[in-house]
Amino acid sequence: MKYLLLACLAAATLGAQETSEQRQAKHHFDLAAIRAAANFRSADSIDARLRQDGAVLHPRLSVLRMRIEAALSEAQFEMDQHDYPATEDALTRADALLDRLAKEIGGY
């Protein structure tokens, strides 16, 4: 009975920790997704302007955008699997790629 109580307590503690981790991961994911969306909108706007002049964005930027989308998708997948360290890894990568994109397009 004592062990059962201890196990319940441990499970409850673990559950509470996971909730906090989950919340942090979700917060980080939301921030990264918002930042990505804002920069993508800027890139789209620049792209549209360039197309009017018969030019296009540099392919490097399109690749960067795809890599950001992939990193965010990976973060979402890991979050759904409750693997929060892996989520953080993917989000750190997304942040670094976003830094590069923002630097290239004068974004945020």
């Binding site: 939301d30 969306a37 800027s42 945020y108």
Partner: protein, 234 residues
């Protein structure tokens, strides 16, 4: 020399016109499931640009272009069957309309002139901000926390109302800019999106009786509101 210049000008004009044909054949070679909204928008804008260059085409040219348009119409019908999301369906509808009146495929009868461009439609008035203006009702607040809860709920209401003002201004400016083919800068766009995120987090924290979390989320709302207001005015 004059001949060379006219050849160069003609080459420049002709080089821009066939882009839409390349895009059409490129898309037709792709499986319908791989098309995105972006592809459709790109095609639509190319068609709009190409329309200016489709003058003086021979009947044979028109016939060849019509054949390509018919292929594209059939292809888009298969894409439409597979399309699930609303933006894709909207883009498909717009593209189908553009195809039906594509000047490179359907010449106007002689003597008839193109209808003048419609006057620009004024941007619609922005709607309501996408977040709750009042804090959620709180259940079972311990007596010791009643004051804190009350303060935080009031702070939520004040912050949400400031945030709603900033959101509305930003939305109006965003619409005006969009009408001119421009957009808000990325920093402001992100700050506007942060308003909803932080207010939702504050509401969740209040409901979970996590007062410190709620306070820090509300501080984040205030900071984001300031950033937006600085860019778009109060």
């Amino acid at each position: 020399m004059r001949f060379l210049a006219s050849v160069l000008v003609c080459a420049a004009v002709c080089a821009q016109a066939p882009n839409w044909r390349q895009s059409f054949t490129g898309l037709l070679n792709r499986p319908p499931g791989t098309l995105s909204v972006r592809d459709l928008q790109m095609l639509e804008s190319q068609m709009a640009l190409a329309g200016q260059y489709c003058v003086g085409l021979t009947p044979g040219d028109y016939e060849a272009n019509r054949a390509l348009v018919r292929q594209m119409t059939a292809y888009l019908a298969t894409v439409q069957v597979a399309a699930q999301d609303a933006p894709m369906k909207t883009s498909l509808r717009r593209l189908s309309r553009s195809l039906a009146a594509f000047p490179c495929a359907y010449a106007l009868p002689p003597g008839q002139q193109r209808a003048p461009e419609a006057a620009p439609v004024p941007p619609p008035v922005p709607g309501e901000a996408p977040f709750a203006k009042t804090a959620p009702p709180l259940d079972d607040v311990p007596p010791a926390d009643q004051d804190t809860a009350k303060d935080l709920r009031e702070r939520y209401a004040v912050d949400a109302s400031h945030a709603a003002n900033a959101w509305k201004n930003a939305e109006e400016i965003r619409r005006n800019l969009a009408a001119k083919g421009m957009s808000l800068n990325a920093q402001t766009t992100a700050s506007v999106d942060h308003l909803q995120l932080f207010l939702d987090e504050a509401a969740e924290a209040l409901q979970a009786h996590k007062w410190d979390d709620a306070r820090s989320s509300l501080e984040a709302v205030e900071a984001a509101t300031q950033k937006v207001a600085k860019a778009v005015g109060n």
